[in-house]
Symmetry: C2
Subunit: 773 residues, 2 copies
């Protein structure tokens, strides 16, 4: 755990340069706009600890699957998130000396991520190794208004000496992934050109043997230089090397003069290989953004961020760390996915690192969709559902590869394009609960939006295919006289290949029930559409539905009669049961224990049973929830970043306010305080949605019940007040919670009736209602 | 399954060139002498399908561990069996044309592995692409008498034309492993030299970051040429390239003249890097073997093989395929391991291929030791035990890495030097039954040889360390009121991470019992030695022994009361039980089913419970054995080459003669007939010991009971007679079985009393006794 970031309402501030934490700061201060993203790397050369990262949404490389021993059914490739062309680079030479903060005496250093405006700012005062003080000030952003564009303002002032300064903005495609083998590179150059104050590179991902499309990315830059904010004449010497273009500008700077470089960049990705067209598009795009200029671009970008915050800000009073933490999470979620492109999704590291391959995990359905449902137009969540709908055929093929038949679908654990690209049998083949989460998201969307068109137009096909999978994945145990599900891994990845994982069995049965309900509804409301679906999916209405009902009625759920708790899996009670407190100095166990020991222990990465109770809360009595919470919480080590939020929400619902707050704290500043000692690899983007849920679904008790938005808020005692904004079916609310009141302000024009506690209240458009707590 | 090898008592014959099967033939016709080995590759260039393989015992490369996601406790490296310098190569140019069988019209082709004499012979008549018939005849062997030496006699006759012929014997270190990544090579050159008719290379394995020693291998050759068996004058043009030395000899050959090249080679391995000394040793060695010349070398080699066959031949009459099969297995076992070097062991592919890393698996203890106990001097098996004794400290460190303490040892699943080098969690960390097999081998050795010195001098330390492991590896299940062992993989690798694997629990308890017995014996017989052991191992005599007794008395064994069978693991009966016949067209399932499906199915790679019953036969009643056999056999797919022999032995003991023979057939010609469609990768060396066991322990019912050799032979009805030779405590017997009699001939000078059936018989040295069946 680290604690070097200055607490602030709107900014992430590194005051004084923390060299040892530089890669952490780079992760924290990543910028993105849904199309591209960039770690908080310095523009100028830096020889110290740094992880360069430039990412373009949707671009990946199908790397060799690396395994000890091949197992039938493994995918051929692993979708590697690629470090792309470095467009932020600016080399600075002062006299004969290349500016490198690692070699200077740093007098003053502030790096600030301004989350309100989406900008990264750095102010440095330093003394060069050979003497001479200079000041450096850079500001950059990836435009939310022009999402292929970005801009940097980079100023150098020689404070106490005159010198020849050479400044070289460049584009560099000679980059590697840190996780690659044998110094491999993944990009080839297709085109390179420079002209005065301008440069272009078109890079293409290397060919692969798996039939995966190659990506071309055109990166362009244009720059100009001003002295003391006045236009100046300068020469630009073009530099062209393999996968590199730069323009070197040499200026004779006087002490006190501020030289400012404006660098505009564009990143355009394509897959059709038409280099000329791509180059032309990139130039046109550059024309447009340089036409606006830095100030206007920035203003439009700030305005776009203002609109986002309008929809989803959370204000916490009385706890600056909490305020900063929650905004940090909302900020990164918003810059990772904007919902504008249904082919994109939310990678676990977003644009902040290269670790983990692929872009889509079950995190999207279980964690991110609830966030976007409440904080963005419904089209954003819908696009995330459409993404899976478009991959249905590939999910069916994936299941076929494993031996399933008749249109059964198993969605991939990790994917870019619908194909599985993860290769550990215990996860790839066994962590099949993901199928359930994908089904649940359809229900969740429908429940939240009231929009039934998605499920009948698209979702029903996905539900049938997943139900077919569950049907084939269970088998009848003669011994138990029940259906069992053997060989699965639940969300708790600290158990592998278990039998009758309670959560997986539960969500499987739930899927079957929901699919039956959807079919029956459609039968009543639109039998023509149902007939189309039956025809399209070759559905045996009576036979398949009968089979599903039989499974629903005869599924085995492990349960302990003495403790009266659901068992995470069959045989769980054979373990040596301990609590997390027994092993405190050895945590995190995933860094201190062998895998063998972790697997055999009772300790839980994230608690399956509680995840199930969270999703299907209404199926359980309060005392039942409490018993299971009390049984599993003490054994849960929360070493999945997705874990604490679920416990926070359940604890809040059970009135365990202290526990709820403790859990909230673990998620809120997970990356900011580097809880898991891995922020340097990038941020835990998808779990950030869980933090938001801890507040809105936890402290504020947000649910949808009988089609109504329902809130049951309370104020954590550590705070003096909090408010959040959520949208619901066309209304936009600002909800403010104090110790004794909750004020619901309908800031949209659309009236809304909602539940606050047990009270049904009506809030007209533009009006406010206050309820006592 | 293939059937192109001519059935013959003593030879493996490929009549006519089977190009498509060339890699299979190369595997089958591999030669070795315990120190080095060579696949049956052609000497001359061949552009068709071929897997070049030259192996030097004990030499390996610590390759990068390749896994999807790292797990704590994984070893850093994977010990790759290295393809070493090619010493058999002879290039032949006829006129301007390089001789390449892939480009010629082959008129006649015979490749013969003579197992009696240990030679590989090839006779070819062919027409060159440009016309002209030639005859080629080569004979080679890796000397059993001079085990760093080998020799080749290689003749060419131009049948119907005169031509300039250039023959270039060479050494080539520019070789790769087929399984390597990215065209990697693993050898650097340290030294290269040539002189007239001589060449030397010293290669060194590339450096590695794991602190593993680098190996230097000196390969030398000397050659001479004769025409029509007469000395001739010739020039040798030295060729020196990176990692290559050759000597080109150009001769003007007349039609009908036979040109014969004698090539002598030496392979010397070292690790101390003293190149000069190594070179000198190699030259001295070459001097010695070339001093003998081809004929004498061959004669000594044949004599060494004759001595081996004297000890271990099995004669089968009435079934040539069976006769060939059993000798094939004995032959390869003998050339893989000679027992002369206690640092060596028996790799799963021996010197016949590069697949699988490492040299030592539990196969050695469970399969090979019983073979060598009966067919070689007792020192051979003892050296295999000493090998493990020397690795005890590393096994303790390996266990520590996983979290075990207090001198508990977990031997590696796969190793070269005592360090674990396998990296799949479900095997590396969970297939811990190997520890039991290592303990059992100590018992087995002592039981067979009657030599108690090993267990008291060495074995006891190994037993204590393994018992300590079992003690920590179990845990008390409050629910069961028993000890349980969670998260293991049994010998049946088609189940992973199961709880209470019956076999593992059984062998664990057996180890504890045996260790107690050994300690108690030593207490009585040599308490001073016991005190040394107690001091050395820091043994808490009462405490630890008490703990072990408690586990012995309270271990949980899964059992089904209705079926009255031991359950392979807890929960096994939840599976959908089928028999192998239900899935016949889909076999082998490891090639036709996804891993997911295999894991969930009831099908068994090799049957754990039966393996346990085989090892601990005397603990069970016949009807109990029969019930378990009848339950598990029909579900066993025998996709481990180690499986059928155990079933053969049990079936024979149960009087299920047809089943016993069926099982024998699956193992006897596994590689010869390419049953598993993988012989091209190399032979299944360790399972060959199982074939021998099928005959001697199966059909002949060989056991040791109360210190006496015991036989219960019968004649399979497919045979008219069989005989085998086994040694027992200084006596050497030839046992001949016909339908009605068994004749025991004591061909040693030492008298022996043994059991035949229920009869105790005395056979004086040199005498024979016949017993009716």
């Amino acid at each position: 755990m680290k604690n070097y970031i200055t607490h602030d309402d709107w900014c992430i501030i590194e005051e004084g340069f923390h060299e040892a934490n530089n890669e952490i700061s780079e992760s924290l201060m990543s910028l993105g706009n849904g199309r591209m993203g960039q770690r908080g790397n310095f523009e100028e050369h830096y020889s110290g600890k740094t992880l360069l990262g430039n990412y373009v949404a949707g671009v990946y490389f199908p790397d060799k699957t690396r395994v000890g021993w091949w197992k039938n059914g493994y995918p051929n490739y692993f979708a590697k998130v690629l470090n792309a062309c470095n467009w932020v680079g600016i080399d600075v030479k002062i006299g004969e000396e290349t500016l490198d903060l690692n070699k200077c005496l740093i007098q003053q250093f502030t790096r600030t991520l301004n989350m309100k405006e989406g900008t990264l700012d750095r102010k440095v005062t330093l003394t060069l190794p050979g003497g001479g003080a200079i000041q450096l000030h850079s500001t950059r952003f990836c435009s939310m208004a022009d999402d292929r564009g970005a801009a940097i303002r980079y100023s150098i002032t020689l404070l106490d000496f005159d010198e020849i300064v050479t400044i070289t903005p460049y584009l560099d495609g000679n980059i590697r992934n840190r996780d690659s083998n044998y110094e491999e590179t993944f990009w080839n150059e297709l085109h390179r050109e420079t002209s005065f104050s301008e440069g272009h590179l078109i890079l293409e991902t290397k060919p692969n043997p798996y039939g995966v499309e190659q990506f071309q990315v055109a990166t362009g830059m244009r720059f100009n230089i001003r002295i003391n904010d006045l236009a100046t004449d300068y020469q630009s010497l073009p530099i062209r090397n393999e996968k590199y273009v730069g323009g070197a500008v040499t200026l004779d700077l006087r002490a006190g003069q501020e030289m400012t470089l404006y660098k505009y960049a564009v990143n355009l990705a394509a897959t059709d290989g038409d280099t000329d067209k791509l180059l032309e598009s990139a130039k046109t795009y550059l024309d447009r953004i340089t036409g606006k200029g830095f100030s206007q671009m920035l203003a439009e970008h700030q305005a776009a961020w203002a609109r986002k915050w309008e929809f989803n800000d959370i204000v916490i009073e009385g706890d600056k760390a909490a305020q900063q933490g929650i905004r940090f999470n909302i900020f990164h979620l918003q810059q990772t996915y904007t919902g504008e492109d249904e082919t994109l999704n939310i990678g676990p590291k977003g644009f902040t690192g290269e670790k983990y391959g692929g872009s889509t995990y079950w995190d999207t359905e279980a964690y991110c969709i609830p966030f976007y449902l409440s904080t963005a137009e419904s089209g954003v969540a819908r696009n995330l559902l459409i993404y899976r709908y478009k991959h249905l055929q590939k999910a069916i093929e994936n299941a076929q590869k494993l031996g399933f038949t008749g249109g059964a679908a198993l969605y991939p654990m990790v994917t870019m394009n619908g194909e599985e690209c993860h290769n550990e049998w215990e996860i790839t083949f066994e962590e099949i609960h993901r199928n359930g989460a994908i089904a649940f998201a359809i229900y969740d969307y429908t429940r939240y939006t009231g929009d039934e068109s998605y499920v009948s137009q698209y979702g029903i096909e996905v539900l049938i295919a997943i139900s077919r999978f569950w049907k084939q994945r269970v088998n009848w145990s003669t011994q138990k006289g029940k259906y069992v599900m053997l060989g699965v891994t639940g969300p708790n990845e600290y158990e592998n290949n278990v039998n009758n994982n309670w959560y997986t069995n539960y969500i499987a049965v739930w899927t079957l029930k929901y699919t039956l309900e959807v079919i029956n509804n459609l039968w009543e409301k639109d039998s023509a559409r149902l007939n189309d679906v039956i025809f399209k999916t070759n559905f045996d209405l009576n036979g398949e539905m009968g089979d599903w009902r039989h499974i629903i009625d005869h599924m085995y759920f492990p349960y302990d009669d003495a403790k009266r708790v659901f068992l995470q899996q069959q045989g769980f009670l054979d373990k040596h049961l301990m609590t997390v407190e027994d092993i405190t100095p050895e945590r995190p166990i995933n860094q201190n224990w062998s895998w063998d020991r972790i697997l055999r222990s009772c300790f839980i990465k994230q608690a399956d049973v509680l995840q199930g109770i969270y999703l299907f809360e209404e199926d359980f009595q309060q005392d039942e929830i409490r018993r299971n919470f009390d049984f599993y919480e003490p054994m849960t080590v929360h070493e999945s970043s997705l874990s604490p939020c679920v416990h926070a929400i359940l604890a809040a619902g059970l009135g365990l306010k202290e526990k709820a707050y403790e859990m909230y704290l673990r998620t809120a500043r997970l990356d900011l305080d580097d809880y898991n000692n891995d922020t340097e690899d990038g941020l835990h983007i998808t779990s950030m949605a869980g933090t938001w849920m801890s507040v809105v679904k936890g402290f504020a008790g947000q649910r949808v019940r009988q089609g109504l938005l329902s809130l049951k808020p309370y104020l954590p005692e550590q705070w003096s007040r909090y408010s959040f904004r959520i949208g619901f079916r066309g209304s936009l609310l600002s909800v403010e919670v104090t110790q004794n009141t909750v004020e619901v302000h309908n800031i949209s024009q659309q009236d809304l009736t909602l539940m606050v506690g047990d009270e049904r209240i009506f809030v007209a458009g533009g009006a406010s209602e206050t309820v006592s707590l």
